[in-house]
C-alpha cells in the first residue's frame, strides 16, 4: 500500500520531517513524496536511504518532483 506525503511549499527541514514521519508510521511500505525544490529532493532521498528505504523512482513534473520511496526487502 502506498500513501502520498505532500511537502510542496514547505522549507527545510519540513520535507525530511514529514518523510521520516511517513516512514515511522509503518502502515505503508511505499511512499510518494511530492517536493518542489532540488534541495528537498536530495534531502528526502538521503533521509529514505538512511532509514533503509530505497528510492524507486523520481519523476519530474510541473510542480517539482514526485519521489517514490519503498521499504527494502
Amino acid at each position: 500500500m502506498s500513501s502520498i506525503v505532500d511537502t510542496r511549499g514547505l522549507s527545510c527541514p519540513q520535507p525530511v520531517i514529514m518523510t521520516m514521519k511517513g516512514i515511522d508510521k509503518k502502515d505503508a511500505d511505499e511512499l510518494i513524496v511530492l517536493v518542489d525544490t532540488d534541495t528537498a529532493k536530495e534531502n528526502v532521498s538521503r533521509a529514505a536511504l538512511s532509514r533503509g528505504w530505497e528510492v524507486a523512482e523520481i519523476q519530474r513534473d510541473d510542480e517539482g518532483y514526485r519521489i517514490t520511496i519503498r521499504k527494502e526487502g
Binding site: 522549507s11 532540488d38 538521503r46
Partner: protein, 361 residues
Amino acid sequence: MRNILATKRGIIGVGLAIGVLASLLQFWGNPANMGICVACFVRDMTGALGLHRAPVVQYMRPEIIGFVLGSFGAAYLFKEFRPRLGSAPIVRFILGAFAMIGALIFLGCPWRALLRLAGGDGNAILGLLGLIAGIWIGTRFLKAGYNLGPTHKTYSSVGWIFPLIMVGFLALMLVYPAIPGETQSGVLFYSVEGPGSMYAPLAVSLIVGLGIGFLAQKSRFCTMGAIRDLILFKQTHLFVGFISLAVAAFVTNLVLHQFNPGFVGQPVAHTMHIWNFAGMMLAGLAFSLAGGCPGRQLFLSGEGDGDAAIFVVGMVAGAAFAHNFGLASSGEGATTAGMVAVGIGMVVCLLIGFTMREKIA
C-alpha cells in the same frame, strides 16, 4: 543529472574550499579571524549605507554581494531558480533581526565562530556551545510541530529583486570607491580604522564570494543545518562540511602564521563567557526557527527565495538597532543593553516557537 556537490565528498570539498579561502582572505586584507563573517559583513554593509553610524564597521563587503550573485548564477545554470515567497515574512524579518543582535553580542556568525576557533580564539568555544544550545532548543520546537507554513510560487521578477539590489550595491561601490583617509565617498560611508577599514582588494573579495556562492548553492552548505540535522536526524552529511571548513582554515592559518591560541586579546572578540554563549544561543535559535544559517539565507535569496531575502533584510535592521542602541559588543565586552536585548530576543523566539505550530494528529 547527479549533483556531485551534494554528495559527501562534495560537501567536504566545499567546506575545505571555504575554509582555505576564508583564511586566505584574512591574509589578503580582511580582519583577523574574519575572512568571511556573514553577520559582521552584513553589519558592515549596513554601516556603509549609513543605516548605523559606528565609524569602525562601515564597508560594502563584496563577498556578500558575490554570495548572492554566485548562487543566482548557479541556480540559473542548473535550472534551480524557483521564485517563491509568502511563508510568514514578518516572522522571518524578526528572526533575522534577533539572529543579528545575538551574533553581534558574540561578535560573529557560525562561520566566524569556526574561523575564530581555527585562529586559536578560545572564546569561540563558548560561542559554538551556545550555537548548539540554541539549535537544540529549535529542534525541540521542530519535533513539536513548529512550522512557518508554505511558500507559494511567484513571478520570476520577484526572485530577481534581491540579486538586483546586490548589483546596485556593487555599482555604488564602483561609482563611489574608498578614498584613503576619507570616511565618506559619495553616498557610501567607509571606515578609516577598525575592522571596517580592513579588506582584501575588491576584485579578489568579489571573485571569492561568487565562487563560494556558486559552490554553496549547489552543495546546500549550511552551518546551522549541520548541527540541526545531527541532533534531529542523526545525519552527518552537512556536519562533515562544517568540520571541513574549520580544519581547512586551521591548517591554512598554521601555514600563514595566523594561528595565535588564547582567550585574552583575541582580534574582534571579548572574554565574557556567559555572553559569548548567550549571544550565540539566541542566534542559533533564530537560525533554526528560520531554517538556515545567515550564509544559507543569502544563497537561498540568490535562488529566488523571497522569505530568505526578508530574513537578510531583518539582519540589516538588526545590525542597525545593534549599533544605534549600543547592543553590539566590542573588545571590551558585552553591554548592559546587549544583555537586555538577548533576554528580549529569547522571549520573542520562544514565543514564536511555542505559538507557531501545527496541531499534531
